[in-house]
C-alpha cells in the first residue's frame, strides 16, 4: 500500500508541470487575457479610457450584470438556466419604488413609509419568492428549467407592468420627516471612492466564492450539477440544492434591481429587459459549462467585466450601438467556441484512458428493460 502513496508523491510534480503548456494557459485564462486585451486596445484608441474615474464608472455598470451573473452561475452550475432574472430585477425595482411612495392601509386609515432598509429586505424577499417558484416548478414538478423560468419571466414582467400601469416611479428620494431617505445611497454613495454597487458585487462574489469552495452546499452544488444521479446516491440532497440555487439567483436579481433603480433614480417596469441573456453570456465567457458542474466565481466576474468593459469602450470611442451589439455577440460566440475546445480536450483525455462502453451499455440495457428475463424458457 505504501507503494501507491510513494508513486503519488513522485508523480505529482509531473502533473503540475503540465501547467506550463502555453496553449493550455491561454485557453484556460482566456477571459482574463481577453479583458487585458480589451483594456489595452481601448486605452490606445481613446485617451479617456484608461483612468481611475472611467474604470469606476464602468465598474458600476458591470456591478448590475455581475450580481446577476453570480446568481446565474449557481443555477448553471446546477445544470439549469434562469431566464427570469431580468424580469425579477424589474419587479423588485418597481416594488421598491412602490414602497418608497408609502403604503396606504385603508383599514387603519394610515399611510406607512417603511425605512429604506425595510424596503431593501422586502425586495430581496420578493426575489427569493420568485426564485422559490422557479425552484419548486423545476425540482418538484419536473418542469424543464428553460420553460419554467421563461414562464416566470413573463409573469414577473407582467406584474411589474400591472403595478405601475406601465409608468415609472421617479421619486425614490423619500422625505427626511418620514425617515425613509437614503435610497440613492446604493447607486451614488462611495466607500473609499468605490461605488456602492461595486462594493456589493465584491461582497456577493466573496460570499459566493466561499460558499462554492468552502461549504458543504458548494460541494453539493458541483456534485449534483456534474452528475445528479451519482450525487443523490452519495446522499446529496439534490432537490434542496436545486431549489436553493433558484432562490439565491432571485435574491441576486432583486439586489441588482435595487442598485439599478437607485443608480437611475427611477424604478421602471421594463428595467432589466434581456439582462438575463447578458448574465448568461458573462457566465459562459467565464468558462462555465451549460451542462453543469463546471465554472467558478472568478471566471464569471471576468466574463461580466469583459462584456461591460467592451461595450463601454465601444461607446467611448464612438462606435454605433448597433455595432456594439454585433461585437458583444461575436465575443459570446467566440467564448462558447473556446469552451467547446476546452471540454473536448478534457473529455478526450478522459476517454483515452477509460473504456468499458460495452459493458456499461449493457448495464443500462438491463436497468432500462427490467422485463428482460426468462420468459422464453
Amino acid at each position: 500500500m505504501s507503494n501507491v502513496s510513494q508513486a503519488a508523491k513522485q508523480s505529482s510534480p509531473a502533473v503540475r508541470s503540465e501547467g506550463f503548456d502555453v496553449a493550455k494557459l491561454l485557453l484556460e485564462g482566456r477571459a482574463f487575457f481577453a479583458l487585458i486585451a480589451i483594456i489595452v486596445v481601448f486605452s490606445m484608441l481613446s485617451p479617456y479610457y484608461l483612468s481611475v474615474a472611467n474604470f469606476l464608472t464602468m465598474a458600476s455598470h458591470v456591478a448590475i450584470f455581475g450580481i446577476l451573473a453570480v446568481g446565474m452561475l449557481l443555477v448553471i452550475l446546477n445544470g439549469g438556466i434562469d431566464l427570469s432574472v431580468g424580469s425579477t430585477l424589474g419587479l423588485a425595482g418597481v416594488v421598491a419604488g412602490f414602497l418608497m411612495q408609502g403604503v396606504t392601509l385603508n383599514w387603519f386609515g394610515v399611510v406607512l413609509y417603511p425605512p429604506v432598509w425595510v424596503v431593501a429586505v422586502l425586495a430581496c424577499m420578493l426575489g427569493a419568492a420568485v426564485g422559490l417558484i422557479n425552484g419548486v416548478l423545476i425540482a418538484r414538478f419536473k418542469v424543464p428549467a428553460f420553460v419554467a423560468t421563461l414562464g416566470v419571466m413573463y409573469m414577473a414582467r407582467g406584474l411589474a407592468l400591472l403595478m405601475t400601469s406601465g409608468l415609472t416611479y421617479n421619486n425614490l428620494g423619500g422625505r427626511p420627516e418620514l425617515g425613509n431617505t437614503g435610497f440613492d445611497a446604493l447607486g451614488f454613495n462611495r466607500l473609499f471612492g468605490v461605488p456602492t454597487g461595486v462594493v456589493v458585487l465584491a461582497v456577493i462574489a466573496f460570499i459566493g466564492s466561499i460558499t462554492l469552495n468552502r461549504t458543504a452546499f458548494g460541494r453539493w452544488l458541483y456534485a449534483s450539477g456534474g452528475n445528479e444521479r451519482a450525487a443523490e446516491l452519495s446522499g446529496v440532497p439534490v432537490k434542496t440544492v436545486q431549489v436553493s440555487v433558484y432562490v439565491l439567483s432571485g435574491i441576486c436579481a432583486a439586489i441588482a434591481g435595487l442598485i439599478l433603480s437607485s443608480q437611475l433614480t427611477s424604478a421602471g417596469p421594463t428595467a432589466g429587459t434581456t439582462y438575463e441573456l447578458t448574465a448568461i453570456a458573462a457566465v459562459v465567457i467565464g468558462g462555465a459549462a451549460l451542462t453543469g458542474g463546471r465554472g467558478n466565481i472568478r471566471g464569471t466576474l471576468l466574463g461580466a467585466f469583459v462584456i461591460g468593459f467592451l461595450s463601454d469602450g465601444l461607446v467611448i470611442i464612438g462606435i454605433s450601438s448597433y455595432w456594439q451589439t454585433v461585437f458583444t455577440g461575436a465575443v459570446i460566440v467566440l467564448a462558447v467556441l473556446l469552451n467547446a475546445v476546452q471540454y473536448r480536450r478534457r473529455s478526450k483525455l478522459a476517454s483515452s484512458t477509460n473504456g468499458q462502453s460495452t459493458s456499461q451499455k449493457r448495464g443500462k440495457a438491463e436497468a432500462a428493460n427490467p422485463a428482460h428475463g426468462k420468459t422464453a424458457g
Binding site: S359, R362, G363
Partner: protein
Amino acid sequence: MKPASGNGLATGDAVLSARDITMSYGGVHALKGVNFDIHRGKVTTLFGENGAGKSTLMKILSGVVMPTSGEIVLDGNIVSFSSSSDARDRGISIIHQELSLAPNLSVRDNIFMGRELRTATGLDFAEEARQARALMAELEEDIDPMTPVEDLRLGQQQIVEIARALSVDSRILIMDEPTSALSATEVEVLFRVIRDLTSRGVSIVYISHHLEEALQITDYAVVLRDGAITATAEAKDIDLEWIVRNMVGENFDLGSPPTGHEFGEVALSIEDVSVVDASGSGYSVVDHLSLDVRAGEIVCIYGLMGAGRTELLEAVAGRVPMAGGRALLEGEDLSGLSIAQRIGRGLVLVPEDRQRDGLVQTMTVGRNLSLASIEAFAKRLFLSRSRERELIDSSIRKVTIKTAGGNTMIGSLSGGNQQKVVIGKMLTTNPKVILLDEPSRGIDVGAKAEVFRLLSERAAQGLAVVFSTSEVNECLSIAHRIVVMRRGRISAQFGANATKEQIMAASGEAVIA
C-alpha cells in the same frame, strides 16, 4: 469437439471473417486477437459470459465500431466498414441487444428509419406500411404498423427491432440477444423465421444467454472468454455441458470466503419486498422477496439479466420505491428514509453503472471519494481542507487506488480504479451494510480480485456485504452464501461449496441433468 482455435473449422464456407481482431479501450483489452468465421447460410452462435467481448465483436463486424487492429474479410476480400450504414449497404445488419428504436415514432417509421422509401414528391408511406404489415405477418405478430413503439410491450418492441433488420434483405444478420424479452411462442416464430432465412442462404450470427435455446437453433458454436476464442465446434458434436465448461473456464482465483470471524447479529433484514417495473406495466420485478444478512457475512446474489437484482438493491438503498415489504437495518425500519438518511445510518449502495450513477466526471478523484462523507470534515458551516485531505489520502491508501493523487481528474483513471473510487467513497462513510450491484462489471480480472480482497477484509471486521453478479465464478469466490434470483424471487440458496452447474440451473440459464 475440436480444439480451441478460430480456424479450427473449414473456412471455405465463411462469408464474413474476423482475422486477428483486437479491441482496446485505453488499457483494457476487450478483444485479444480474435478469429471468427460466419458460415454461409448457417447459424453461428457466439457463447460467452457478460463482458467476454461478444457485443464488442459484433459491433466490429457490423461497422458500429472500428477495431484497434485486425482485418475483416468479406467474401474473401479484406474490407473496412466506415459506418454501420456502410456495412448495411454490403448486406450486413445487426439487431442490437439494447433496443435502438425511437419510441415516439410508429412501427412503420421505425422499420424504415434512415432509409425511407421515396417517391418523386416525398415519402411512399403506403408502400412502407404495406411492407411493415407484411413483416409483422411473417413474424406472426398482430401489430398495426401505425402504432407508436412506446405503446408496445418490450417483447413486441424487440419484434419491431427484428423486423427492421429483416426488412433490409441482408445476407448476414447478427442477432445480439434477440429473445431476451420474447415469450416462448414468439421465440418459436423467430426460430422458424431464422430457418427460413438460412434456407434462402442468409447467414446468421446468434448471441444468447439462453444456452439451451441457442443450442436448438445453431449449426456452429463458438465460445468467447475474456476477449479470446476458447472453443469452436459444430453443434451436432457438443452439448450444454461443453458450452458451460468452455464459457466459465478455469477459475481465476478471486479469493475465498474470509474465515476466523463469527457472524454478528442480523445487520440487514429484507422482509417481503416487492418492486414494480418502472415503466408502469404493473409487472413485479421483485416479487415478495425476503433475505437476512448478518454482520460480517458476504452474500452473493446471482441471477440473469432482468432477474430483479438491480431493482432489489436499489429499493433497499432507497433509490426506487418498494411496492410492498420493508427493509430493516439492525432492526430499525428504513421505510420513508431518504438515501442520505440511510447512508447516515450505515447502509450504502455501490451502483451498477459507475459512469451514470457512481462518479461525478467533472470532479477530481479526491472530491469523488469524499462526496458521501462531507459531514466528517465539515466544521460547522465550513469544510476543513486539511481534514478532507487526510480522509482522501487514507481512502486512496486503503482502497489502493492507483492515481497521481487526489487532485487528478476522475476520467484519467482506468475502469478498475474508477470502480475502487466508487467503492472507496461508500466505505469512507463507515457503513454497516454495503450493497454492491455488479461490482466487477467492466473491470479486469486483477482489479476484480483486489475489489474482492478489500470486501473480504472489511467483512472480517464486521461489515455485512451483499453483492450481485451474473458471473458464476464470482459467486464461488468470497461469498459465504449464494442466493440465486430468478424472475424477482429467490429460486435457491447455496453455501460456499455449491457447484457452477447448481447455480446456473437455479437461475434458469441451463438445466443440466
